[in-house]
Amino acid sequence: MPSFAECPAVRSARALPLAVLAFAMMLIWSGLAIAAPATQLLVSFSSNRSNAMPLDTTTLSGQAYPFVTSTKAILNVRFYLDDPKLQGSPVRTETGAPYDFAGTATNGTAIPFRTTLWPDGTHSISALVTYNDGTNEILTGVFPITNSTASLGFNPASMPRLSNAAWDETAVRKVLHAFAYGGQATDRQVRLWADMAPQTAIMQMLTFNQHNPALSPASSLDYDRLYQREGSLRSLGSFWSSADPDNGVYSGHRTRYDLYTNYGLLDRIWSKAAVSRGLNPFRQKVGLWETNYHLATNMEVVPRRTMLRYYDDILNSADMGTGYQNVLTVASTSAAVAIQYGHRKNVYLNGQCLCNEDFAREYHQLFFGILGQDNPDYHEVTSIKNTALALTDMAVPNDTLYGGLGDYVYFGTAKHYQGAVEVLNTMVGGANAYYKIDQLSQYAINHPESLNNLPVMVVRGLADDNLNADKITRIRAAWASMPTKNLLDFIRAYAISTVFHTPTRVKYLNSIDRHLLIASQMTLTNEEAYLDLYPPESYEIEGVKVFRPVHNVFGGQTGTEAADSADVFRANYNRSTNDISRFRQSSGTANGRQWQKNWAQVVPRNASGNYVVKDVTEWLWKRFIGDGLKHLGLLERAHIYALLAEDLDLPYLVDRNRLDRVFTSTELASDPALANLVQDLSMRLLPLDSADGVERAAANMRVGQAISFIVATPYIFAQEGR
């Protein structure tokens, strides 16, 4: 039976205007368009085309063999590479079976598509199929090419790498959960990474680029082609507020993304970027941590457009990889920070510093981790006082076009303290604040206190709330050993090290992390994101806002705070129960467009081609919890099996006269009747691919219901190492 993704109307969606797509979806939803896919665009990794799989979203490397197969009579197939709208000439036309993208050898085998000839990134192959009856069909596959075998050079002795044997699928998923809201990589991609050496895989998994096609692959359903668009928040906001025909944001909501001529919401742009396919969730995760925790500023004070630039500038600087101190200089000399701390008004006039010490202190403490503990008096009276002098004449001009304060600093000299200043026992010179701060940052990054504290701040902020002395020592030594402090390489090395993959690691998820994880894993296409089916900003019901950190410059809600909060627990629980429709809905109309959930496009089948309850349960657990099934015990299985197999809760299923019955793991294992029931439920089939639209929708609802259970368990709130 065809999956939703395989329906012809949708497969060619990428080349269709939004209105046509919506119509196609309506047809599918109404059951009219469900039919076996007569024609498919597949790829094999063998010249004999064996073990073929849909080309769409399948990562290619080396030699691959894309081809078209059909049960209908084909006149010819014209192939296009990276030309989904078929605007150029076809790269090949095949007039007889087999219809190989790169042609067919005389012995009948397929000629390879040498992907190494193409740059790594997202590409597409489109096939215009003309049938003998004169009709045409367009098939498109969007896929990442990843041929890079680059290996992480940074290999600190204090953070030993996992062995290739220990680097497995669970290890990969733990990295994705910790650093990328679980990522959006396909199961095949996860296996590919697991099969690589960790130092190779991590280079593909974690990048600061605006797009990471392997981590966040687009599919042919993602008609917005974000993978081809500028991925800064500014550009994304511009696109999502535009009338571009490929923009899927409901027209009535587009002003939410317009920060310039309307009351756009920066947090909406950020959260959509974090869950959209074709971008890079790791970039957004680190961007959030930098701008809302480590280098936090607050839109209670900072204008939204200034905050937007702050975010983009920090990440663009990080992406350059020239040294973390330069990222911190960008932040320190930004308009956002000058507005937040108020030193935009600091001036040196008539021999007097009309200034405050707020950022002069926090530059050292919050940004670099320098508290002046070795000599508090010197730090107080010399370093902080003189840093305040360095931070003079940093006016933020008004935005003459849009009003309010602008997004850049004018580094003046007339009201700047012109002399060199002593800070951290070194002399810092420069004609204006920028030069002084830039010079100071080059020194501060290697200050002993910064070497001790900054890497710990990074790791604690992103990945571990349970740092012990041994881990801290190792992290510090690794950071200190980097000749140039490169944040990305440090995170990569940490993520494949035994310091990350250790049983003592615990990271509690803050509300944003948890909601983004759930939204990212619930959202299967960008269309679903456009329809706001699983709005990631639902973290706001837990009293949290992005770009408005609850502790102001000291950062947003931490994972440990969320873990201590009964209100957070309650909100999460109530969302899974009182608001279960959010998870369970499998079709409907949103923003004037009809939609249908199709878990079949990602849930794996067994060898017989079926969706088995046990397999689906384990797949969902890996997707949302990512613990290698460690905590998927018999108790969890029994409840989830019941929800998936029978659309009922276990108490009701066993005895509807004892609805408050509690089942222990022991009795589930030892009571023959219960054990048999659980066993029976586990083997049931879930008709996610049924030809019957009603049955198919019901199966999708059960999946949603099972997810609502999984994300209400204790295991959604924290991640352990292993």
Partner: protein, 467 residues
């Protein structure tokens, strides 16, 4: 002394104010729907950011150019956003401050804080001067030390217990957190690891009117609606996990949160349904304060007192965050917030108006921030980080007055020395420890084991702080 040994001592002496058949206070507040208090109650309010208490309690202006009252007004005029002239300082003092005295020291109270003035006049406000915790001037570290009540805590000692948690533990009750997330003040002592904590005595009540977990109606619970199905699943699941989840599991706390919400949520909802929130209290978070969040906490505190028997309330934790780090424009930032707390018809007055005398007799407010500000205003109409500060203790059983030297003349010599601040002379251990002793006699040394060696300003005796 271990907690168990300490409890034995208290039980033997009959000195423990607590529940569970122990000597308790008389029937309190029952007339207003308040169940009897199981014990005295501490209300701790953290003003995070480092509040400038000298702005609230300035010295009187003195026209003598060599006097403390002249030179300090001159040094701090910018923080008041007034001109650099004696007439402006005098005008500010006379127009905007009540002049008050405890007989030995004359000082001002901001006129917009009229409730505080009235409480002072009735002898229910103590100002403990020159109090000090950590001296790093680092917000995070100083808050950590203050919340933990542990002067030895370093910047990375995140997991130690808080003094509110220790106090509620020794009183065999709970610390109720009314803030967005529990402060470290609330963390209870770990049974074996001094570097860790245990939150079994912590109840989180960010919104007391919405504490219950979702549960379908009695009828719907018997049906097969999606909500009924998932709720039955999860209730059954968590009930099993309660016994199956190991105590050492990092996930145990979430099972406990579920159980706690079930235990308290339904009972509190039932109680509060019968006690609608007073209109005046609801207005605090609707429109009455510039910071609705603090108004919500006051409402939560009222509700917690109404439900003190369910919650086993011993300690309540509040916060007034984000406004006290007044590096710039101090006057315009700090005064509305001070007024929110202490003004006529504002937070504390409204709360106190709705509590019975019996409750008020057994309630103490402890209010302060992690450090003080520098003696001299900066160039941004604000003040920068200092160390010493004043703590405020309010209650019917407080012996009002000024404890410690409020305006040390020695400060004059340091006015122009960079970064000069109030010299911390009295460790927080003494202030908080004395409050603990009042809450539960003898508990101060257990909650603050370092109190004996902590600094205490010469001539200051805090034994009579509470009676």
């Amino acid at each position: 002394m271990h907690r168990r040994d300490f409890l034995k001592t208290l039980l033997a002496s009959g000195a423990l104010y607590s529940a569970g058949g122990l000597p308790i206070l008389g029937s309190l507040a029952s007339a207003a729907g308040f169940p009897p208090l199981g014990s005295r109650v501490l209300v701790n309010v953290m003003l995070s950011g480092g509040p400038d208490m000298r702005h609230l309690f300035p010295p009187p202006f003195d026209p003598n150019p060599a006097s403390y009252g002249y030179l300090t007004w001159k040094a701090r005029a910018r923080a008041h956003s007034i001109a650099d002239s004696a007439s402006a300082w005098q005008s500010r003092w006379e127009n905007d401050y009540f002049a008050v005295s405890d007989g030995a020291t004359t000082f001002g109270i901001l006129k917009s804080c009229a409730w505080l003035k009235s409480m002072w006049d009735t002898g229910k406000v103590a100002i403990v001067c020159n109090a000090v915790g950590a001296t790093s001037r680092d917000h995070a570290h100083c808050q950590l030390v203050m919340d933990q009540g542990n002067l030895s805590s370093g910047p990375n000692d995140f997991n130690r217990s808080g003094w509110g948690g220790r106090l509620s533990s020794i009183m065999q009750g709970n610390v109720v957190s009314l803030t967005r997330a529990p402060r470290r003040f609330c963390y209870g002592p770990h049974p074996s690891d001094p570097e860790n904590h245990d939150n079994q005595n912590l109840v989180s009540a960010r919104n007391t009117r919405q504490m219950a977990l979702y549960r379908p109606s009695a009828y719907e619970r018997t049906t097969t609606t999606a909500r009924a199905i998932i709720t039955r699943s999860l209730e059954s699941y968590y009930a099993a996990k309660k016994d199956e989840m190991g105590a050492a599991s990092v996930y145990r706390r979430f099972v406990d949160l579920h159980n706690s919400a079930r235990e308290f949520g339904d009972a509190i909802s039932e109680r509060l349904v019968q006690n609608p929130e007073p209109w005046a209290l609801s207005m605090l978070y609707k429109s009455g304060l510039t910071t609705p969040y603090f108004g919500e906490q006051i409402r939560n505190l009222y509700d917690s007192l109404l439900c003190n028997d369910i919650l086993r309330l011993r300690v309540a934790s509040l916060e007034f965050p984000n406004y006290w780090d007044t590096h710039k424009d101090q006057r315009s930032i700090i005064e509305p917030k001070l007024t929110d707390m202490f003004g006529t018809g504002k937070a504390f007055e409204t709360l106190f108006q709705h509590l019975t005398p019996e409750v008020l007799d057994n309630l103490v407010l402890v209010i302060g921030g992690e450090f003080g500000r520098q003696l001299k205003a900066n160039g941004s109409n604000g003040t920068d980080h200092g160390r010493g500060n004043a703590m405020i203790v309010i209650g019917n059983r407080v012996r009002g007055g000024v404890y410690g030297e409020m305006f040390p003349e020695a400060e004059l010599a340091r006015l122009d020395v960079p970064s000069s601040d109030i010299t911390g002379r009295t460790a927080l251990d003494h202030v908080f420890g004395r409050v603990c002793d009042w809450m539960s006699p003898g508990s101060g040394d257990w909650v603050f084991p370092g109190r004996g060696s902590a600094a205490l300003e010469p001539g200051v005796n805090l034994n009579g702080l509470l009676i």
